[in-house]
Subunit: 511 residues, 2 copies
């Protein structure tokens, strides 16, 4: 009977026995993570001390160098900033001043749009309210009537009072609804790329029309509320792209004020001064990589990875997106080192760059290390990776994990989550895919890459790409919980008899 | 039996029969207020078009002049800005720029503290973190170690994620809890005045110590959250007070950032430029007053008043505090005029100045018109006022009324509120006093002055004295409801056979 069951299980693809958890190790991890946490100090360094961490900017560099130096202090091996290829231009803000001066004075909450030029000294001008979404729109403004003007685009959003809390946690009912499989959205990559290309080309024509008309500055009202605004993806950072015209992104209330005045026939004058620096010569950027060497002779060549993206947007210190995830991963590594654990497999941390512009750091790392998702030509290390764990959904504590369509590790993860029943309320496993961050780079070559289910807190309302994504938005107790859980997942993965089960390999892509 | 009841009621002080409501008139008021509302346009003019309305500032003047001109257009009589005495200095911001420049660049959300000097051009300096609450604290800093520095005081508040909605409405349970009488807090006026005097004197010593040490600028982190901050009461606006040192009030996250960097031993440099203008020569300011003349030969000398304060703080356009109340009161008057109603008693609107600095406009108006609350020497008009209705609790719709300790009008108000059962959910009357605004000036001389119970919406969380008290925060549907209800209350009061019952007259004050 037993052997029949065993044979049956062997036939079940990807099935792995959930081994017993080493309770003594778990106790050490919990003690270090929950009672001696350093995650607050790590988060302070990544946010306050480093500053905004746009890829290739000095702020990113500060955070990366500090991380390497900490990892070395903790005794990790091969700690370095590992270059992965060409990113494009670095950029940072050196001055940001914007105010309405007529009909009366009002300082405006805003920041230069990423990768735009500065104003080359103070500028003043009357504001023209525009809405340029199509070629037809652009034609309307091609007659020189915008000459010498400052342009304002208002945000098409409701910024009125909200009767819902900014910060929320998942209820048990909401988590239960996440469990059933849903069809993954079909993403037509060539179509998507073409749409982006068309958008960029149109935006370049708008830019050159504005430049030809001597438009002084563009102001874009952004979604948000009460002093918080969500920045955009910015202008092009490519090494060969022309430098975009000066532009500010501002809070919706201030854009609304100017727009309403103009609609009432009242002329509005702004004054502005911005300075931005491009770092043209440094076209490469790197991921922070470090390792705890495995100790089992048979398994030490195998690797368990954990990571998150270290880069952020530029209008705040990127606390929840994604200093939180990096602080958790660094702390998880610190916990394992401080607890003196000797993993069988090698544990490798990666803090990625270029995530915000398209997962560049992780995609290139995977391509350079494991294989090419386009051709599915795999490198030898592909066989050696057990799993990659990622954190990039803000400050909220772990409530479960996305299987990313991979049923194999369900029983293992169930057991591991259950071992934290006191600090994970209603632990949840879903077969679903979740997107938008670096585990996808692993998934794309058929490697087990996982993202955790985290409480949302204020991610969608206040912090994701906003000017208010600051240290204050971090919930330290949640960061501690995450680091402790991740440390255990990573260690347990390193100790498993087998690697984490995999899905079928993806097919090479036609395009 | 009937006559016995009647005699009994006559013995019951302040009892007044609730007359029947004129349903045709009510229908006209509802139609004009709910279907043809102009409150949105009025609110736009008071906020966006006028700008911040600090008493005696050009913004206040714009709003007052526009209000007078509208009232005249609507056919009101005696529309004017009526001076009430000496207020002090007018003041406005002409430039406001503040940024961290080291260890990296970050523009800071802030505004000059009211009635402080500008920086006289750009200033740069290293930040010293201080906490000066007592004479002992001040002594610590009297040794010149602050010379040439920029001082930062951090806010002692939690600005972390909040799991409560910013905007709320009263539940029926909450309203029911407001009904029972509670003991009014005993306010020891001489003690309170002395405490304020001591505070001002200490603040002046801090200011002169800092000036003597050549402190360049003070930065005060204020309570708030995510780009919203609550400004303070500012420096002294008195005509004879020395001009206070340059100071900014800033968002808590930005104060927190600087403070944490300094605590980590990292030097922080700021650059700032502010310009402020004092309007020293114009030491008087006025209330906007206008009337709809009464038409009943016996009652037209009697007056019903409605009002709210027109002045605001300076960091936004004072939308909920209190353009909302003024827009509602102006709209209520417009409704009555447009509906062509001919009230028996005279109806008078008053939009007050100087409320934010101590109800100056209404207190002086009451003293000049009705009597002195100190001596209780009353003027002839005291006998002629039926009631004063005030709105100053933000944008939230009317849910009931505070009787202000005056049981007399309960039955009348119950009936009037009930006539709006479709737009007032769970109408509530409480015997309680509510404070902090201009109806108190009337109450202080024994005149019936009432403030409505309004839904809080975001008043305590986002708008009251904040930099984000903008037009976006207004709930237009609630303003319409308020204007309609107030128009009916005012008209009904003008038509009553008797004046609104009064409480016993207060005693003259010892001090």
């Amino acid at each position: 009977m037993k052997s029949t069951l065993y044979s049956l299980l062997l036939l079940c693809p990807g099935f792995v026995f959930a081994q017993e958890i080493d309770q003594a190790v778990l106790a050490k991890i919990r003690k270090e993570g929950l009672e001696n946490s350093k995650v607050q100090d790590i988060a302070h360094h990544l946010t306050d001390v480093s500053g905004p961490r746009l890829t290739n900017s000095p702020g990113f560099q500060r955070a990366a160098e500090w991380s390497v130096s900490e990892l070395k202090k903790w005794g990790l091996q091969k700690a370095e900033i590992q270059e992965w290829g060409e990113f494009g231009k670095g950029w940072q803000v050196e001055k940001s001043y914007l105010a309405m001066t007529k009909p009366y004075y009002m300082p405006l909450i805003g920041i230069p749009r990423a990768w735009t030029a500065g104003t080359q000294g103070p500028v003043t001008g009357e504001v023209a309210l525009v809405n340029i979404q199509t070629e037809e729109d652009l034609k309307k403004y091609a007659d020189g009537k915008l000459a010498g003007k400052i342009l304002l685009t208002r945000p098409n959003v409701d910024s009125g009072p909200t009767f819902k809390a900014d910060a929320t946690r998942y209820t048990a009912e909401e988590l239960d609804k996440m469990v059933p499989a849903v069809a993954s959205p079909t993403i037509n990559v060539p179509e998507q790329m073409e749409r982006l290309r068309v958008q960029r080309a149109f935006r370049a024509r708008v830019d050159s029309t504005m430049k030809a008309q001597n438009v002084k500055l563009e102001i874009v009202g952004r979604p948000g509320r009460e002093g918080t605004f969500f920045t955009s993806n910015g202008a092009s950072y490519r090494g060969d792209s022309p430098i975009a015209n000066p532009a500010f992104e501002i809070a919706p209330e201030h854009a609304g004020l100017i727009a309403r005045l103009i609609e009432s026939g009242i002329p509005v004058t702004l004054e502005a001064e911005s300075a931005t620096t491009f770092f043209d010569k440094k076209l490469t950027t790197g991921n922070v990589i470090a390792e705890i060497a495995g100790t089992d002779p048979k398994l030490k060549d195998e690797v368990v990875m954990l990571g998150g993206h270290l880069d952020s947007w530029h209008s705040a210190t990127g606390a929840t997106d994604n200093a939180a995830g990096c602080a958790v991963m660094l702390e998880a590594i610190r916990i394992l080192q401080t607890a003196g654990l000797k993993p069988k497999r090698t544990i490798r941390i990666a803090l990625w760059s270029g995530e915000e512009q398209g997962l560049h750091g992780s995609r290139n790392y995977v391509k350079n290390t494991f294989g090419d998702p386009q051709t599915m030509k795999l490198l030898p290390a592909h066989e050696k990776l057990s799993a990659y764990y990622n954190i990039d959904n803000g400050t909220g504590r772990i409530r479960g994990i996305y299987l990313q369509g991979n049923e194999g590790p369900r029983a293992i993860f169930e057991k591991w989550l259950a071992s934290f029943s006191d600090i994970i309320d209603h632990p949840t496993i879903t077969i679903r895919n979740t997107g938008g961050t670096d585990h996808q780079s692993f998934d794309a070559v058929g490697l087990p890459g996982f993202q955790f289910i985290q409480d949302g807190i204020e991610y969608g309302t206040r912090t994701h790409h906003t000017n208010m994504d600051t240290y204050e938005r971090l919930v330290m107790d949640d960061l501690k919980q995450m680091a402790t859980v991740v440390a255990a997942f990573v260690y347990n993965t390193a100790q498993l008899d087998q690697k984490i089960p995999r899905k079928e390999l993806p097919k090479p892509r036609a395009n």
